[in-house]
């Protein structure tokens, strides 16, 4: 495992191009494009204001930089550095900006979600979509890039509009049976749209591409409901994480629950492996506390940690959420399937320092990773069943069915890993700190421990 040197970035804006060749980072108002292998700067663009959002187009030719405060979007071309494009939303403001799947249209959501403006780079034409819903996830593009589903709210009712991304033709427009639609997501095969209600009501609706309601699923009433939803990459399963600390899995044939995964505070399952991160502090000898040692030896203060396998039963640390506050820190907030649909990683906000890994084939718990602090981010390798996670300290943790390893990021000055992203090839990881980023190149020839 090799680590690159540390680069500056701002706003956690650091993305690899879809073809995996370039790495774009934002530093204040500059956009820096590097080559992924050599990390040499290829292009440098300057925007008009501090960049709030940055994204690659799907063909890796263009990058959009949105400046929400100014209501501006600037688009840069990789092929022609001289080419420029500036979209000014004017006084209507800008809340979010994104590419369309064909990489030639930009969808801007105006302030207060008044409308969605579709700007075309080919024809300079503008389209408007009225009444978009301001919710957790109101827009989703299908994986093949053909269709876009948009959540709308009119007259206190929720609607879903399906657009053909080719020419933004409204294909279907139907009302949903939700009280307050919180999000929608296409299945990876693009044929089913999952729509879920806000947390006040547990309801997940499944619509087919042509707008027919296929099925409704509601696990219980009255208590707080759905917190997170994700499809398995094979479209076979829909995993629903809810506030009652359970994950329910629906199958794509009958749309009925086939199993539910519970996240209890005490683990009695003997088949699961419980990895506990154990921190060893290096012994500091009082004689050696010279200035030389303190300045040079960062490693002196860097604590070593390793994983220990704990025998069941294991007690996990639970943090009780404040009952009076809205959106309590309880329930399954993060769900992620591995790329082969074999494993599901979940995180219960109640036990924020624990990541649970489930085997979807056997429908059972495979591993539990207990960290010392709250887990900030985890992501599956896009090629193989390997999970990378970080907890905001200077370490990177990797889990695979073979085992678990904790790697110290060897940088000076203590690089706190706040989030991470896999490269699309699965060969490297981009680690993002507060103001810094670092690349970690995996050694995929030999088995990772």
């Amino acid at each position: 495992m090799n680590f690159s040197e540390v680069f500056k970035q701002s706003n956690q804006l650091c993305k690899v191009s879809p073809d995996g060749k370039y790495l774009a980072t934002c530093v204040q108002y500059r956009l820096v494009v590097r080559d992924v292998e050599t990390l040499q700067i290829l292009q440098l663009y300057t925007c008009l204001d501090q960049i709030s959002h940055m994204d690659w187009s799907s063909d890796s030719l263009f990058i959009l930089c949105a400046m929400y405060k100014r209501g501006l979007v600037q688009v840069w071309s990789l092929e022609q550095p001289d080419w420029h494009c500036k979209i000014d939303e004017g006084s209507i403001g800008l809340v979010s900006s994104r590419w369309s799947p064909d990489g030639r249209h930009i969808l801007n959501t105006t302030e207060f979600h008044l409308r969605v403006t579709v700007w075309s780079l080919c024809t300079k034409a503008v389209s408007y979509i009225k009444y978009p819903k301001a919710c957790q996830k109101g827009i989703d593009f299908s994986r093949d890039g053909c269709y876009m589903a948009l959540a709308e709210r009119r007259d206190c009712k929720d609607f879903v509009s399906v657009f053909v991304c080719d020419d933004w033709h409204l294909l279907r427009h139907f009302e949903t049976e939700t009280q307050d639609l919180a999000g929608l997501e296409w299945s990876p095969n693009g044929c089913v749209l999952a729509v879920w209600d806000s947390c006040l009501e547990y309801k997940v609706l499944l619509y087919s591409l042509d707008g027919r309601l296929l099925s409704t699923y509601s696990a219980y009433e009255w208590s707080l409901g759905v917190k997170s939803v994700t499809w398995s990459p094979s479209s076979q399963f829909l995993a629903i994480g809810s506030y009652d600390e359970k994950v329910r899995i629906l199958n794509h044939i009958t749309w009925k629950k086939i199993t539910q995964f519970e996240h209890p505070a005490t683990i009695n399952n003997t088949k699961a492996v419980v990895y506990k991160e154990v921190v060893k502090r290096p012994a500091v000898c009082s004689d050696d506390l010279s200035l030389h040692n303190i300045t040079i030896g960062n490693t002196l203060f860097n604590t070593q940690s390793k994983y220990e396998i704990c025998p069941t039963p294991v007690q996990l640390p639970v943090v009780k959420p404040d009952p009076d506050r809205a959106n309590p820190k309880i329930g399954i907030s993060t769900l992620a399937f591995s790329s082969d649909s074999r494993y599901l990683a979940t995180k219960n906000d109640n036990m924020a320092s624990v990541v649970w890994v489930w085997d979807v084939q056997k429908m059972s718990l495979v591993a539990v990773l207990e960290q010392t602090t709250a887990v900030r981010c985890f992501q599956w390798d896009p090629r193989r069943p390997r999970l990378a996670l970080c907890t905001g300290n200077t370490k990177l943790y990797l889990w695979s069915p073979a085992g678990c390893v904790s790697v110290q990021v060897p940088t000076e000055g203590g690089f706190q890993v706040q989030s991470l992203n896999w490269h699309c090839s699965g060969d490297s990881l981009i680690l993002l700190g507060k103001e810094q980023l670092c690349l970690c190149y995996m050694d995929n020839d030999q088995e990772d421990k």
Binding site: D82, K86, I87, D88, S91, E111, K124, D167, L171, P323
Partner: protein
């Protein structure tokens, strides 16, 4: 009581009237003074000491009437008093009896009341208990209800907080909108929204864009439906494959079950079943060719599978019962004997194995001991020393024995030699005597021609004659050697060349060698043949023997021949 008393009183009156007669009987003119004294005594006893009946005249024919009247009066007062007392007592008695009655009545009444109240109490207890039970159940219900209420309350609370949060958010947003609206209305400087592009970019797929027409909308619809249909077809295909697989598996199972159930010829129903199954199979296969997903075929298949499974299960149960029966019958069977012998064999083999194991174990232990002892040098050396010491001791012992034996042997040898010498001497003496006697005889008998020659020839001839028996007598040694020696003996001068006969020769001649005459020497021990230690001594002795006793040998030989 009182009436009886009265009766007594009444009866006493007539009695008194009739008693007058008695009294008159009591007192007569004769016994007047006695009567008077008796009455006075009675009056005294009644306590009327002062009142006495006096006789008016001595002799007591009459009495003093005054005193008599006084006495009577006193007695009457006493009587009246008694009567009053009696009345009072009777009254009291009446009272007490009525009291008693009253109390008894009360008592019984109270007892009844008590019983009643006790019964009531038990009844109340019972009702109380039931009520307590009810209370408990109601309390538990109440608890559950409270819990549920609490849960609902918490849910309501969380929902309320969520609602309020959302409402606040919305309010904030509306506030912002209002502000913005205000700002816009005031500003009026509308920043035009515009896009400033250097040049248009080509489409991602490189083609030209199309006009929006109904045809395009229709084509979009068509494409959408196409993709949906594709997906459905794919899933249907996979489901059909799965279905076909499962059906195949079920068919296989059914066939196997039929196969398992059919081979027993005693069961008629299975044969029938096989026939009917055959029909079914035919039916099924024909149906298979038609349509896999035919509802009826599916149902039939599942039904037949269920039937077969039930049969199989029954069959298994029967087998189980049969097996248990057979188990019970096993004792009287031949198999039992076989098993017993088998078991005996097993036992024997086990024992053998055990023994072998023990043996090996013991061997191993000893080996271990050996190895372990060899490791420790000091103790090994010590042990070795011990062993060698033992051996040395033994050796010493044996040497000692050997020395003893040698000494014995020497002693006996000495004795032998002494005896031999003595014998030799005696023999010599005897020979000399004999010789002289013979000489004398000869001299007496024959004329002397050549004494010397004759003597020598005699000697020679005698010697030769003697040598012959010597030859005969001696077992192994060569006669010429002896004859030479004897020839040497004939000359009185000692010859240096005369070799001393070896020990063995000597012994042989003396018949002392154990191979020929071991039985003779009863008192001798066993003589080692190769003792050359005392040859020197012997040579000396033999020299001495040689000097004059050489003829002893011949004599001895002769003697022996003669004997």
């Amino acid at each position: 009581m009182s009436p009886s008393r009265q009766n007594n009183l009444v009866s006493s009156l007539p009695l008194s009237r009739s008693s007058y007669n008695v009294i008159s009987a009591f007192c007569t003119e004769d016994n007047m003074p006695q009567c008077i004294s008796y009455i006075n005594q009675e009056l005294d006893s009644l306590g009327l000491c002062s009142t006495r009946i006096e006789a008016s005249s001595p002799g007591g024919a009459t009495i003093n009437t005054v005193s008599a009247l006084n006495a009577m009066y006193e007695i009457m007062t006493i009587h009246r008093r008694n009567m009053c007392n009696l009345e009072e007592l009777e009254k009291d008695q009446l009272k007490t009896s009525s009291n008693l009655d009253h109390i008894q009545m009360n008592n019984s009444r109270l007892k009844d009341q008590l019983e009643l109240s006790i019964r009531e109490k038990s009844g109340l207890h019972e009702t109380e208990r039931q009520l307590q039970l009810k209370i408990k159940t109601l309390q538990s219900c109440l608890k559950t209800e409270k819990d549920e209420v609490q849960k609902l309350q918490s849910i309501i609370a969380s929902r309320a907080s969520q609602y309020s949060h959302d409402a606040k958010r919305k309010e904030r947003e509306t506030a912002k909108i209002k502000e913005r609206l205000n700002q816009l209305l005031v500003d009026r400087k509308d920043k035009k929204l515009a896009m400033d592009v250097l040049n248009s970019v080509g489409r991602s797929d490189g083609k030209r864009s199309h006009w929006k027409t109904t045809k395009t909308t229709a084509s979009h619809e068509g494409e959408m439906y196409k993709s949906l249909l594709n997906d459905y077809e794919v899933s249907q295909r996979s489901l059909m494959l799965e279905n076909a697989e499962l059906k195949k598996v079920l068919q296989q199972m059914k066939k196997e079950m039929i196969h398992i159930l059919s081979p027993r010829p005693s069961r008629d129903d299975s044969r029938d079943q096989a026939e009917s199954d055959g029909e079914e199979k035919v039916g099924d296969s024909s149906r298979e060719t038609l349509d896999q997903s035919c509802e009826q075929a599916r149902e039939q298949l599942t039904n037949s599978i269920r039937q077969q499974w039930r049969k199989l299960r029954n069959h298994m149960e029967k087998l189980d019962s049969q097996a248990s029966k057979v188990q019970n019958q096993m004792e009287s069977n031949k198999e039992v004997v076989q098993r017993e012998t088998h078991e005996d064999e097993m036992e024997r083999m086990r024992r053998e194995v055990q023994q072998c194991k023990e043996f090996i174990h013991a061997q191993q232990q000893l080996l271990q001991q050996q190895l372990h002892t060899s490791f420790d040098d000091e103790t090994a050396a010590l042990l070795n020393d011990c062993y060698t010491l033992e051996e040395k001791e033994r050796l010493k012992e044996e040497w000692r024995l050997f020395e003893d034996q040698k000494r014995n042997f020497e002693r006996e040898r000495k004795n032998f030699t002494d005896a031999a010498i003595r014998l030799g001497r005696e023999k010599k003496a005897f020979e000399e005597d004999r010789a002289s006697w013979l000489k004398n005889q000869f001299l007496n008998m024959t004329p002397f021609t050549d004494r010397r020659r004759c003597s020598s020839s005699d000697g020679q001839s005698a010697l030769s004659i003697r040598s012959e028996p010597e030859m005969r007598m001696s077992s192994t040694k060569s006669p010429p050697a002896k004859s030479s020696t004897y020839a040497a003996f004939s000359t009185p001068k000692p010859t240096q060349s005369a070799t001393v006969p070896s020990t063995t020769e000597l012994y042989r001649t003396l018949r002392l060698i154990p191979d020929s005459s071991s039985s003779r020497h009863s008192k001798r021990g066993c003589w080692p043949e190769s003792s050359t230690i005392e040859d020197g001594d012997f040579r000396v002795k033999s020299n001495r023997i040689r000097c004059g006793d050489l003829s002893i040998f011949s004599l001895g030989g002769d003697e022996n021949s003669l004997t």
